[in-house]
């Protein structure tokens, strides 16, 4: 019976989270600040911008978790705020469009190496 339950649980785990490959969750402070965590979808951005725009011009380090992105910096036009300024893309007043993850979603890259990819067997 226990084995059956374990088997069922294993079957359910991959079904629970099927985020798109390369989605990044930012949640260093979101939960603590009472807002939803941020979902950064790589697929959406790379249709519009090459990697080098964010990872070279905007200064985002390539390792997920290596960037300490604060709302104050975004409002000052740094990080996301270089485009999310109501000129290139929607502005930082549109909270819900970025802060869109389920509360208590842990930070990190999902849909990639940490989940179905072979880097974390």
């Amino acid at each position: 019976m226990k084995a059956l339950a374990c088997g069922l649980a294993l079957l359910l785990v991959p079904l629970a989270l099927q985020a798109e490959y390369g989605d990044v969750v930012l949640n260093r402070r979101s939960d603590a600040s009472g807002v939803r965590p941020v979902v950064f979808p790589h697929w959406f951005h790379r249709i519009r911008f090459r990697c080098k725009v964010c990872h070279q011009e905007l200064g985002f380090k390539m390792r997920a978790g290596a960037n300490d992105v604060q709302m104050a910096d975004i409002l000052d036009g740094k990080f996301c705020g270089m485009c999310h300024n109501n000129t290139v893309a929607w502005g930082p007043d549109r909270c819900d469009l970025c802060h869109s993850a389920l509360p208590r979603t842990p930070p990190g890259i999902v849909g990639g190496a940490q989940t179905s990819g072979p880097g974390r067997w």
């Binding site: 697929w43 790379r46 080098k52 070279q56 390792r63 485009c83 869109s100 993850a101 990639g112």
Partner: protein
Amino acid sequence: MTGAWRKFFVWGLGIVSAAALAAAPALWIALEKDGLHDPANPGIKLLQQPAEALAPLPRDTAGNLVRWVQALDSGAINPRTNILPGTPVRVLDQDIIVSKFGSMPAVKFPHRQHTLWLDCSNCHNGLFKDKIGANKFSMVAILNGEQCGLCHGAVAFPLTECNRCHSVPNASLRRPRAAP
């Protein structure tokens, strides 16, 4: 079969196949069902769905199910190369062959495909030294998210696609001269 029955049969078949098509599993999960986005968030209705954006692009079998380089080369997408007007846009058309004569086919690293997306400084000289032969590659490190694995397995095509990198038969390469 009478005309009425034939009509009934044809219509029935049509409805059944339409239902089967509608029930076919979607290639990309809708945001509100992906277990990541909060379906209760009012803003979710305004976000673009992956299926809408990715379905028209060249199809792949892994990752986002998109052949991203082919999407660039075919002109299906033309993402911006820079935001600041003064940023130099550097593309290098040069292939490097590494990991020769191992148990796997050798690896061809194409600079062109990488520099279409990335700047030189994204890899050099932090991740990799810009000198042929100066970098020691390890598949264990790569599988643990280091070296190539920083992107491949996270955003670029995943590490299940061995032959996309290990693509050069060792037999096609010149062996180093045996020591006398």
